[in-house]
Symmetry: D3
Subunit: 296 residues, 6 copies
């Protein structure tokens, strides 16, 4: 089962159409001798390797085409999360020519963005898992997660893309998690005060996570029995020391590494005792996956 | 004078707050022993080199802070379009602690995205201009322009970012320009039919642009006296031949190159006779500029 | 092919229903002994001569009827842009009585407004074309275009109506055209400065249009080689002189007349050398075309 | 005290700005060498005789200018409902040049539309009152009222304009009045059934109004003691007969005439015994009042 | 025929889904091994006695399920306004498991709220009618009506619920009725001034209602021949005196009692000469009717 | 520090004004001889005992009054969460008479609703705490929490009200918590499968909660080491047995009781070993707190 964001995607597509002033598309109006509802078939293909995320989006495009009175039908040729390469056909659209041409650009803009997120996530997840196997570690390799570094209007969609690439969500919103950072600790006076304060107000279903910058802060947090430790900007070797320090305590918090993790460095962070690797760049620096639509 | 998109940016910030479920931010609620309106001063700085685009956005954040009843004041320390490097202070915020902490993430998400676009544009523009000077060409170097490959909700903001980096807008929407592409030619039957059709319907203030894939199509378009020629996916040497071919005609259309232009290849496209270099990646593949907020 | 504004029209109809507080329509609630979905057939007819623009709108009404859970089916009896006279049947609606009665007034309000615009445009276009033939001018008669004098929420719909009457769009928005007016010239310092300023920032696909108030300004504009000249509030004889003056230059800009053009005066402006006649009144002073719905 | 629709008007102005794509106004961007917030003074004047309705709208424009970050201040020079003639100054705006130029067109579009409604209403009201005095009738002359023939998004604004011209509102919405028409009578079976049905469901604060097409229907309605009679498409002499017939009954309903009332015929309908004259054309066929803004 | 608020209800359901962040429902995502569109059948039943109001709402849920791309079909097992008891099946849903589980909570929240209003109304209406019969009064028992004490977004829906329980609407909005209260009288100077002022501006289809606090005010209002008298916070015996006083006047206004009416006291207010009993608590203090959904 | 929902509250107030059609408030228009901005002072007081929640809402009303162009100033006389009794003054408003009268009803509707929730919560919280002290239990008494049984548009506001009354939030949305219920277990096949499934997809910051209906299910859940156990519809004595059973396990999950908890029964559930008492009725069945506004 996948996140159910088809409605969000339809709304984004309709906004894309509005941004385009599509009602008065002079080029199409001038070059089509045909009527509005004349039929057409088009195929969308990948032009690069990556993870495709445009199947549900295509259903949303189908729904949007009905909404604007220019309906077409979609046939999925690749599924969300599927690996594609140049030439892989991903979707076939059949119906209103005007509808297909209007939705082409908004669809491609969104699909290439979401697929770009999924693709980058998949690369990082695969790197972690390969390293894990290569080193023959037991247990489960660390999760790769996104952060809240996501553009307004794109929260759920971008998280879905991370999941399609094999990654996981961090807290979805400020009301869906507790993450005590530097500024919060400063405001509360100490890690202990911050943790107690958070425990006294947060819903009972949320774990308390604390971001630490060094081993001293780490120990303070562990003394508070926080459920999750975030090692902020630790080098891999510092992570190793931190994990050892944690092991000396009488409970087992989750351990997250954050900061400085990229395609180049992630393997070094895939260490036993680390459970989560969070990467802002998954969603804030996206390379679009090249997709194109061709009228048959 | 700059594009006037402060209202758009405020709306995006408010959406960012909504995505964040900021009303019930358990961490801040739990760790602040202070009242909602307690004052705070924070400074935002760059952590990388690039072109900053967050001055107007900060004014929008100030307006958003009033809207949510948690007001703070903004003092600009860098201006939109200014070059920054690690450590450059860009903005100072003073006022409601809750307001500053709530708007921190939406502001940074947007500022780093827009600055990322401006930064990439600046690099490409500078490359073109250096090459132009190096080769001692006369006249004006080609414009670097964006395309319509922009996420829904971000059209005007992204174009503003391209402009802040020294680039230019292409048509803003389908109703604000005419660009005849492969599919339109197919629909109309021929380049001549497509051009005549477009001329017969488009507002008189719009030039007719035709995308051509080879020299044969180029000549057909020139025979129609189209105001703008787009050379689609031409190599630099093919562009040279096209420019020569165009020079043999009795009028001087604008010439645009599109497809395959990147940091690596753009210098080779900065050729006399070429007026516009359009690059989808300016807006579809953005590397965020690293910015961070620190409470004083 | 026609502008694709069915979605806009549906949104306007739904707003019309909301304005009407249609959910609690006491009269219909009290006088119908029938159930919500009981069927009905109604026919909409013209009660005056004019150009009908309500076919796409009726499809939008059909879609709106589904949206509110009171569906009916529409059969077009006249098409958009068709000439009608008293008694001409234009649309047949069959289905939910409550749906038909609820949408009757919003549909008629919009259809009579849009048809009113189309009708007035047609009269002016016909006058221009008759005069052109009568005078045996060669080439194409001037276009009749609308302006931006359109009520908020009605931009695309009103332009579509002008087109249905045989007219053309002027720039659709400020981002889709360049028109330098008196205030801009004052701000820039001179016509030359204004034109150069506009050229330096406008997208390459937009022509530069300058509004001139006299022959002196006209010459300045021509020296700048602006693509379009707007003769503002020129009498027909002054237009004649302007056209002669333009002919003495070495290029051929488009020439637009604006100001003081109405049913009474337009024939006098249909002069060779004039390409565009723009008329604010097409959209700011509309006489609704009388249409009515009758339950069979 | 006047209707309080400043918020509605601000929303309409902001929509007008959006329709205009005002953020990327190439002309203003290109011709202003000045910064966004540079100051300017502009004066709006009437260019024709009529009733002005743009004072509250100017306050809404002031509020909108703040909303978009380009603030200016408004000084009212004429008040809502005031008679103006060519040259009458109505409003002075002082502040952000970009703000004033952006809001100029949306303001003028709305002000000339609303003033157009007020102006036409005033003419009709004055005609009725002159006729009443001329004939030396006692009591109060009939009210001139609008109908529901108002474009979506403009219900309250248009009614306010009718009131500014000395007219009155009819029911504002379907939930704010009961008006039994031909179709309702057909649905209910008879006038009696329709009236009883409406009485059984309508809120107790609403009077029952019935539209009648002839004297026979009039009598049926009078037998039901309906509070308001609408004489639909009666000639003035038929109205006279109807009034006489009503006088023979033992109660005094309000009497409304509707259909065929215009500047030419309204005096003939200003008859004793008639209380309301309703005219769809007040709002469906509006001639804009000419207003213009000049930068000082 | 019932109020036609299916669209309002669908919008409320979609808002409910948004409040729930339903796109990333971790529990359902994690526990369903099944695909998004796998089928399911669920039955909704009452768990308490009351008046059901969820039939139209279920159709709205069906429409919402299509909107979010997770469609199911609804079969009504009870109709709006029907009496139910524990175990009464009210609705069967068949289709997308994800759609049914997502809409379960928003549907139940709304249905139990609306049914709660209908249930309370029914109890009060039945009490009035029983008392009326018990006392063998002739004529019609007083209406039970709601007030404007309704939460934002719920005006029409709550009024529909009151009607489903056998009650009536008071004025739907400030533009759909005239009710002169204490503050208005103070502002106008006297009851006479207030009534004359209201008559001079209100649409002709609205009756004038005045709230009086004692017999002296009552007489003033009666001298103004107001169409409706509201006896504010009168005890039953004071109401009796007021009714007697009214009977001594030469016309028969409607009489409304308001304030202090509840399940305990309403029978005492069901007096001849009283036409309306209005009760804010019908909508401001609602006890939800217990309903639950069970997957078959 | 309190939840920051002033913006939400302002939006609700503006919706309330729209529901009221406040622009054409005939009563106020007719009875005020004064101008729109004439000043007034009004005081809002409690008319019953309870917990007040209207201080932030009054600030939102102040902001809304500016938004509609009828500004007034608010002075808080009671603070959010404060106990009030009949006669306690809670807020003073000073400024535009029209603004105060327009916002009176929406403010009171919302304030009495939110205060009603806070009041009921306070009663239940006090009962639990009294019982805890009376029985001399050590540790912390169970939390009283709300559920997701909240009307659309009111999620954050209602949770804030619960908190103002001393209660706590449950998960705010489906994306902010994991709660495995009967239907999920059925879908997954077993409690173990459901828990493993949820763990495999949920963000790492969320605890897993499982609803159990009997001791057998309880044991299965405990064997899965779920972080939270919800005892669904257990009687107090069954809860006792469950707590004993839990104590025999080697870890200490949180224990929540849900179902059948009310003012009458809650004391019996305040048992050692129980951490959370969740009550749908806190938000689905609200008795409004009586508040009224009086013009001075």
């Amino acid at each position: 089962m996948k996140p159910t964001i088809q409605k969000d995607l339809k709304d984004l597509l309709l906004t894309g159409l509005k941004d385009d002033g599509f009602g008065l598309d002079w080029t199409t109006l001038g070059t089509s001798s045909v009527k509005n509802r004349q039929s057409l078939t088009a195929v969308i293909s990948a032009k690069a390797c990556g993870v495709f995320l445009g199947e549900t989006l295509a259903l949303a495009a189908e729904a949007a085409s009905v909404e604007i009175g220019l309906p077409f039908k979609v046939r999925a040729l690749s599924s969300d999360g599927q690996a594609v390469k140049p030439g892989t056909k991903v979707s076939e659209w059949k119906g209103s020519a005007a509808g297909i041409l209007a939705l082409e650009r908004p669809y491609l803009n969104l699909a290439s963005y979401l697929s770009g997120i999924a693709t980058r996530t998949r690369v990082l997840v695969d790197t972690v898992e390969s390293e894990w196997k290569r080193k023959k570690h037991s247990g489960i390799a660390p999760r790769v997660t996104s952060t809240r570094k996501i553009l307004p209007h794109y929260r759920d969609a971008a998280i879905s893309a991370v999941m399609a690439g094999g990654g996981f969500a961090h807290r979805v919103s400020l009301s869906g998690g507790v993450l005590i950072k530097e500024n919060h600790i400063a405001a509360a006076g100490s890690i202990r005060d911050a943790v107690e304060g958070a425990r006294s107000v947060a819903p009972h279903g949320l774990k308390i996570e604390v971001e630490v910058r060094n081993l001293s802060e780490l120990k303070q947090a562990l003394h508070c029995k926080v459920e999750i430790i975030m090692l902020d900007n630790f080098t891999p070797s510092e992570v190793g020391k931190a994990v050892a320090s944690i092991a000396s305590f009488d409970y087992s918090p989750l351990v997250e590494c954050s900061g400085g993790i990229s395609e180049k460095t992630i393997a070094a962070y895939a260490l036993p005792g680390v459970h989560i690797l969070s990467i802002g760049g998954l969603t804030h620096s996206v390379t679009a996956l090249d997709l194109s639509l061709l009228v048959k």
